[in-house]
């Protein structure tokens, strides 16, 4: 067992789930939000030659996905270290 006590174990899982929820909210907003649900509203704005909503749906959301995963890797490694459950 890696955890010092049960409190730590619960705190670790709570921290992890909280991080996941935050990142999944961003995931939902950039793809389903900006790319689909709000696409008409965003299309009134222009980003160079793109309508903004169109750009999110065919480019922007994908860039955000990549950044989200790499941020998750970074943040998760931090959490693992803090609780002493990282891999040696």
């Amino acid at each position: 067992m890696g955890f010092k006590n049960d409190n730590d174990k619960q705190a670790y899982w709570r921290t992890t789930v909280l991080l996941l929820l935050k990142l999944l909210v961003i995931w939902f907003v950039v793809s389903f939000g900006c790319g689909i649900l709000l696409v008409d509203q965003l299309n009134q704005f222009q980003l160079f030659g793109f309508k903004l909503g169109f750009w999110f749906s065919q480019q922007g959301a994908i860039y955000c996905f990549v950044l989200l995963i790499f941020y998750y890797v970074y943040a998760m490694n931090k959490i693992d270290q803090r609780f002493g459950v990282d891999e040696e």
């Binding site: 996941l20 649900l37 990549v66």
Partner: protein, 573 residues
């Protein structure tokens, strides 16, 4: 050197490379055959995952689909990338910590039930076969166009190559071949796109090029020009959609969740040494996938403009284009006409080709040629065209190999070892794994040569079933300690039966009724997997309420997969 010889050389060279890798990376044990010994570097695994994931459909068909669908093509772009976020955050690290070989392994052990395992095995095999049939066909099509052999010969060559390195190398052989295949396919995909972007907009990156102004001196944005062109010709506006918003939402969700639930993708994360690597590897995989997926919509927009202008002739100072005389048609049109992928019928007998979305239209264009003919349309050198052929073959082969391995593992490991013949030796199991891979290749090849008319329809099936069966069961298995076998099995069955029934009804039983008015809540069969997924969750939770929670030792198992420390190599058992 003519195009055919050049293509043979480049495709042949890529095959030699794959063979060399297969011989170097032979599998000696079931562990190497199933999960490459669990020792793959995360970046290499990222590339392998990307090649595994991007099939003939992504490489050949997707840009074409987007080119004709415009904004509606978004469902593929978001659906087939967004799933990796779910995979990286919610599935991959925990399944890696769990440390077995397959998805049915997890479902069977976590839900302490052979029934659950069997349901999972059947789904895994069905989903994989559905998928692989289309891949073999893809190999055949590429060969027949570029090497001028018939499709059957093409499929048989493809079968031979896959047979060699899958049966010999197992997951270990496949992984390193897929790394090479990724390099071939991404190079082949981006080179023509960069050339075309530079020609049309002066931007090196196609990703920014399609939001830039045209370099013809007009100062008009490419997308504005495209919107103008297509509206004038009676199509719907390129940058806005024609599907219902809720349907687009559901299709995207079904494809995302389906991606995260596809066994041949999940199993790739069992091959890295550590939990940390599984997380990182998902990031690399998506980065490598995003290179192609952000290029595709640019190719789509460039190709649509190019195609319209070539066929209808340029618009001159306010005068609408009236068509290009057939006698002046560029050679790519006549070349592809021979394959039947472009057709022209001179309806108004003026000797000119005209392409539009209304009754004036005289030209039929198969979506697949957008990528395949792209280098010819842009007048690129012959080696680029040959490269695209090699890339298409690489995309189809890499995905086939991954799928065939899932089928073979499901049979030898989940069905024989874990179910029917538990006392089998490692060596015997390895033999059965190879045998199953061989048989699966022959079946896949048969489907490639005699494609059932329903291949296109059943793709919705693969994603729908993965979304409505595996995804909820795995998520609940990780994020709920107490979810029990009764709940999980009831949920999976409810999800599968509902989704399958809906798709079968609209695709096979009563295709005439397959219109928006008859759909449940306006959701098309392509998107119904997301409703099936919700149903799975709901049924599982209700059944769980009325039955006993999972036993103590299972709850401890769940706790132990939630943190990384102590993840050994993938365990044999």
């Amino acid at each position: 050197m003519d195009l055919k010889t050049l293509t043979m050389l480049i495709v042949g060279a890529s095959f030699v490379l794959y063979f060399a890798i297969a011989i170097w990376a032979r599998a000696g044990s079931t562990q190497e055959f199933y999960v490459a010994g669990g020792g793959v570097h995360p970046i290499a695994n990222g590339m392998a995952t990307a090649a595994d994931w991007m099939s003939a459909a992504s490489f050949i068909s997707m840009a074409g689909l987007i080119s004709f669908m415009g904004y509606d093509g978004t469902v593929y772009l978001l659906g087939w990338t967004g799933g990796y976020v779910l995979l990286a955050l919610c599935l991959a690290p925990y399944l890696r910590k769990f440390g077995k070989f397959t998805v049915p392994d997890f479902i069977g052990d976590r839900y302490y039930s052979q029934t659950a395992r069997t349901v999972a095995v059947v789904c895994a095999i069905f989903v994989s076969f559905t998928y692989v049939a289309g891949q073999m066909r893809g190999v055949g099509v590429v060969f027949s166009r570029f090497l001028e052999v018939d499709i059957t010969t093409g499929v048989i060559i493809g079968m031979g190559v896959v047979f060699f390195y899958t049966v010999l190398g197992g997951m270990k052989g496949i992984t390193y071949t897929q790394v090479a295949q990724y390099c071939v396919l991404i190079f082949a995909y981006t080179v023509p796109a960069v050339f075309i972007s530079m020609m049309m907009t002066g931007h090196v990156l196609p990703q920014t090029g399609f939001g830039a102004t045209l370099s013809d001196g007009s100062g008009v944005y490419l997308l504005d020009k495209l919107d103008g062109l297509v509206m004038e010709l009676g199509f719907h506006e390129y940058t806005s959609g024609s599907k219902g918003m809720f349907d687009v939402f559901c299709i995207t969700a079904a494809l995302m969740v389906g991606t995260a639930g596809l066994p041949h993708v999940i199993v790739r994360f069992f091959t890295v040494p550590k939990v940390r690597d599984a997380r990182k590897s998902a990031g690399w995989a998506l980065l490598f996938i995003a290179l192609l997926y952000t290029t595709a919509p640019s190719i789509a927009a460039f190709a649509r403009v190019n195609m319209i202008e070539t066929i209808n002739g340029p618009t001159v100072a306010g005068q609408a284009a009236t068509g290009t005389p057939y006698s002046d048609a560029p050679t790519w049109i006549t070349n592809w006409e021979k394959t039947g992928l472009i057709g022209w019928e001179d309806k108004n007998a003026d000797g000119k080709m005209f392409y539009s979305g209304d009754e004036r239209n005289e030209v039929t264009i198969d979506r697949d040629i957008v990528v395949l003919a792209n280098p010819e349309i842009a007048d690129l050198p012959a080696w680029v065209i040959a490269l695209v052929a090699a890339g298409g073959v690489a995309a189809a082969l890499s995905t086939s190999a991954g799928l065939l391995l899932v089928i073979s593992t499901s049979v030898s490991h989940d069905l024989l070892k874990r179910n029917l013949m538990p006392n089998i030796t490692d060596k015997k199991e390895l033999f059965y794994a190879r045998l199953a891979a061989g048989v699966a290749i022959c079946i896949a090849g048969w489907f490639g040569i005699h494609p059932p008319g329903f291949v296109a329809q059943v793709v919705a099936f693969a994603f729908g079933l993965a979304a409505s069966s595996f995804f909820p069961a795995i998520i609940m298995g990780i994020f709920s300690k107490k979810m029990n076998s009764q709940g999980a099995i009831a949920g999976m069955l409810a999800g599968i039966i509902f989704t399958a029934a809906y798709i079968i009804y609209f695709k096979f039983v009563n295709p005439a009724a397959n219109v928006a008015d008859n759909w449940l809540l306006g959701v098309s069969p392509e998107g119904i997997g997301s409703i099936g997924m919700l149903l799975n969750f709901a049924v599982a939770l209700v059944v769980f309420k009325f039955t006993k929670p999972a036993p103590e030792e299972i709850q401890q198992l769940v706790e132990s997969i939630r943190y990384p420390r102590g993840a050994g190599e993938a365990q044999a058992h």
